[in-house]
């Protein structure tokens, strides 16, 4: 029994940690230290076991095939008719798998996760015991969900992890539930994710409908044989639907509104969930299901276009934000756009590579901003900060390194991965991939502009917070202090990671004719459908000439440098930021547009949210009036008929009885006159009577 045979222990450790913290420490209100130990053990064991399993698997097993470990058979739905005719048994197993994609993800998720756990120990120290244990239980639960998502061997287990992370983000965003806007931010995140999951679920049904199985390995096998265009239609539908799920989870264009609000949660949460791991789940899913996208050019285009547009769109909003975490949030959305752009052009490995590097420096940025906020007593507005360089040297240096990395300055990680994406985008345009060359060119240009903007607003952030004079109040300045080691150590590790990570993992071998040095390309190669052999996207040799590669590198570096210079010019030299303010007056509409995030939130609120509530109210009115009305109507009808029958009974039948009474009365009134002792009258009556009798006798006779 090797480590990787028990791979399902990796998600189980944090789950155990979560349960212990949740049920034991929280209920009994034990001290913080207990919660610390339990949480750290939980994620630490996952880290150790995960790395051990991956390494052992790496050295003993064949990399080109995924090693599936079936834990137990989860759902069995009997035979189901398929869209493609025939029937297939619905047997979904709870099974995990180890293969290059999940290996990479497991490694960086466990590492970053553990570091953020360590960081949270310091950051959450000011919370009450109960809240503290509750926080760590949720964090461990998140680790369990993320690892399940990453390690799942079929779409359904992935979906379990998918929803699990959604739940944990809901719980952690809404951690400070006393504050109304925190709770509503949490709910907003969950519902937007749920809308994304709507697409994901349909994709699962279509996958089963067409292929009769949800296992990645089986799907990979089935799709790699089918070269005919029969499945292109199916692959497109499934690809687009899956991408809808990814949009919801990774906050792309239509469904990105929840990520900026998600900053309401504690900063380590933002770092872990909304920077490093959860939001990248969408990218992982697209990379995992690359076989769908490889078969349908339209789906790939959709991914690329949305990715590119989101990148530039989020970058523009990031320019004007004043809240430090909002800037980082929009930068995350923008970087995710880049990852999807990479996936859209067929460079799934570059996308995953950017995920890893982004995890390092974005986590470092968030944690840095966390320690800044921690120091400034919860203040998040950059305009009230400044000159923190002197007070927090470690945080400053790690923050600066991460900013350089994200800006895309060589040799740091950011440059390596972002440049790879831009190169691939250019190449797609150049080789007219799937006939959409023009679109890919446009996206490449957008990418370049985005890179410039990213460099600009990141350095704007650094200069505003760390340089110049402290703009916060006097007493705030007094307890500006460097964060404890538990917070700075993870910062340093992550900064180190963002420096060497890039070269170590994905060395740009192409530039130096040493393709095999690029560890990640080689490692994850077999996972991509058609990577070797028929691959329409990028043939073995490079369509783009060698010289062109270097030109691209040069271009992206110059663009980044330009961004930094402008930022330096505007924010570093004059502390009153006169130029940006002047720019703001000259283009008031543009400034307001960007500041208010293109009013997207308000738009959604007015249309969708108000619409559904209005529709709901209308349905309720309809229900109360019409459907209930019908029921009450029948009630009134029955009551009415009973009322009528009551009246009928009263009037008609009683009426008859009374009538008879009155008849007698009136008749008697007349007859009385006859009976007055008028003897002759009697005689006459007798005569008439006799006559009558005789008449009757004769008639009948």
């Amino acid at each position: 029994m090797s480590f990787y045979d028990l791979i399902w222990l990796v998600p189980l450790f944090p789950l155990a940690g979560a349960l212990i913290n949740g049920l034991v420490t929280h209920q009994l209100g034990l001290k913080k230290s207990v919660a610390n130990i339990v949480a750290l053990i939980g994620s630490g064991l996952a880290l150790i076991w995960g790395w051990a399993a991956v390494l052992q698997w790496y050295f003993t097993e064949d990399h080109t095939v995924s090693y599936v470990v079936k834990v137990f058979s989860w759902i069995s739905g009997g035979d189901l008719p398929l869209l493609s005719g025939g029937t297939a048994p619905l047997e979904v197993a709870a099974s995990y798998q180890v293969d290059p994609t999940s290996a990479v993800m497991v490694c960086f998720v466990t590492l970053v996760g553990f570091l953020i756990h360590l960081y949270s120990v310091g950051y959450m120290h000011s919370e009450s015991d109960k809240a503290y244990s509750r926080y760590f239980s949720y964090l461990n639960l998140f680790m369990f969900a993320m690892l399940t998502l990453v390690l799942g061997s079929n779409l359904l287990v992935l979906f379990v992890g998918w929803e699990g992370v959604g739940l944990c983000s809901y719980l952690l965003i809404g951690f400070y539930y006393e504050k109304e806007w925190c709770a509503s931010a949490g709910m907003k995140a969950f519902i937007v994710n749920r809308i994304g999951d709507f697409g994901f679920l349909l994709a699962i049904f279509f996958t089963f409908g067409w292929f009769g199985t949800l296992e990645f390995s089986e799907l990979f096998a089935v799709l790699s044989q089918h070269h005919g265009d029969a499945l292109v239609g199916a692959a497109t539908i499934i690809g687009v639907l899956l991408f809808i799920g990814a949009i919801g989870k990774s906050a792309q264009i239509p469904l990105f509104v929840w990520l900026p609000d998600a900053m309401a949660g504690p900063t380590p949460v933002s770092a872990l969930i909304h920077a490093a791991t959860m939001v990248t789940a969408g990218v992982y899913m697209v990379a995992r299901c690359n076989f769908f996208y490889q078969l349908s050019p339209n789906a790939m285009l959709v991914v690329a276009v949305i990715g590119g547009v989101t990148a530039i769109f989020a970058a523009t909003i990031g320019l004007t934000q004043n809240d430090i975490k909002k800037v980082l949030a929009y930068s995350t959305v923008s970087q995710l756009g880049y990852m999807f752009l990479a996936a859209g052009v067929g460079a799934y490995i570059a996308a995953i590579f950017h995920v890893v590097t982004h995890a390092f420096f974005k986590a470092c940025l968030f944690l840095g901003s966390g320690s800044v906020i921690h120091a400034c007593g919860g203040e998040q507005d950059m305009r009230k900060m400044g000159g923190l360089k002197k007070y927090m040297p470690k945080t400053y240096w790690t923050f600066l390194i991460a900013t350089i990395a994200i800006a895309g300055i060589p040799p740091l990680a950011g440059f390596v991965s972002k440049d790879a994406i831009l190169a691939k985008a250019f190449e797609a345009g150049y080789t007219d991939l799937n006939g959409f060359g023009g679109a890919y060119y446009g996206l490449w240009i957008l990418g370049l502009c985005g890179a410039a903007l990213t460099a600009f607003y990141m350095f704007r952030l650094v200069f505003m917070t760390f340089d110049g004079a402290f703009r916060g109040g006097e007493e705030a300045e007094h307890h500006l202090h460097e964060s404890p080691w538990t917070m700075t150590l993870p910062l340093q590790v992550l900064a180190f990671g963002s420096v060497i990570g890039g070269l170590l993992i994905g060395f740009p071998g192409i530039l130096f004719h040493k393709e095999n040095w690029n560890f990640i390309e080689g490692f994850m190669g077999p996972m991509i459908l058609g990577a070797h052999g028929h691959g329409a996207a990028h043939a073995g040799g490079h369509a783009v000439s060698f010289g062109l590669e270097w030109a691209l590198v040069g271009l992206s570096v110059t663009v980044a440098a330009a961004g930094i210079l402008v930022a330096y010019r505007w924010y570093k030299t004059d502390p009153e930021f006169s130029i940006p303010n002047a720019m703001a007056e000259r283009f008031p509409f543009a400034y307001k547009l960007l500041l208010n995030k293109y009013w997207v939130d308000e738009l959604y609120d007015a249309t969708i949210i108000r619409g559904t509530i209005g529709l709901a109210r209308f349905c309720w009115e309809f229900d109360a009036r019409v459907v209930d009305g019908v029921v009450n109507g029948t009630r009134h009808v029955t009551v009415g008929t009973s009322f009528l029958s009551g009246i009928f009974d009263l009037k008609v039948i009683d009426g008859i009885v009374n009538l008879i009474g009155t008849i007698n009365q009136t008749a008697s009134r007349y007859f009385r006159r006859l009976q007055v002792g008028f003897t002759q009258g009697y005689a006459m009556v007798m005569v008439f009577g006799a006559a009558l009798l005789l008449a009757v006798f004769f008639i009948s006779f």
Partner: protein, 190 residues
């Protein structure tokens, strides 16, 4: 003259009939009860004659004795009693009812005639002679009647005598002045 002789019976009957009708009308129309009584007496005699024509000699005798002699005397006696007390006897007719009564009477009369006409066709086995025969020997009507009365109709005869007795007692009770009525009057007066 022979016409008279041959039709003597019919002519006699028609005269008697006319007289009887006249008498009856007189009884009804005469205002003064005495005159009416006399007219009734005349009618009784005419009817007695008719009885004789019909071979009911005993009956004619009885008619004359009982009716004319007895009942008429009673009537006249009562009329005298009434006129002595000076009671008003005029206003003989109930004007409004006269037409109704007449129509009613005619109606009843018509009905009875039709009944009778139907009866006319009834035929008996004996002839008129049988009225006088007793065990085959023509004795006379009275003997025949007596024979039949005391043999075949003895029970009704006794019953009728009882009726007469009861009538007598009744008449006496009405007739005499007894304490019961005074008490009534005394009581009413107080």
């Amino acid at each position: 003259m022979d016409f008279l002789v041959s039709h003597f019976a019919e002519i006699l009957f028609y005269i008697l009939a006319a007289l009887a009708v006249l008498g009856s009308v007189g009884v009804i129309t005469l205002k003064n009860p005495v005159n009416a009584a006399l007219s009734l007496l005349g009618t009784f005699f005419i009817v007695a004659v008719l009885f004789v024509l019909q071979h009911a000699e005993f009956l004619a005798a009885v008619q004359v004795m009982v009716y004319a002699g007895g009942i008429m005397v009673l009537f006249l006696f009562v009329i005298m009693l009434v006129s002595v007390k000076g009671l008003k006897t005029q206003a003989a007719f109930l004007s409004p009812l006269v037409p109704v009564a007449i129509i009613g009477a005619i109606l009843v009369g018509a009905l009875i005639t039709s009944a009778v006409l139907l009866g006319v066709f009834a035929t008996g086995d004996g002839g008129p002679e049988a009225l006088q025969m007793v065990d085959g020997a023509v004795l006379g009507n009275t003997e025949a009647v007596g024979m039949v009365l005391y043999t075949k109709y003895l029970v009704p005869f006794e019953v009728v005598s009882v009726v007469l007795l009861v009538a007598m007692i009744g008449a006496i009770v009405f007739g005499r002045k007894d304490r019961f009525i005074e008490e009534q009057e005394g009581e009413v007066g107080s």
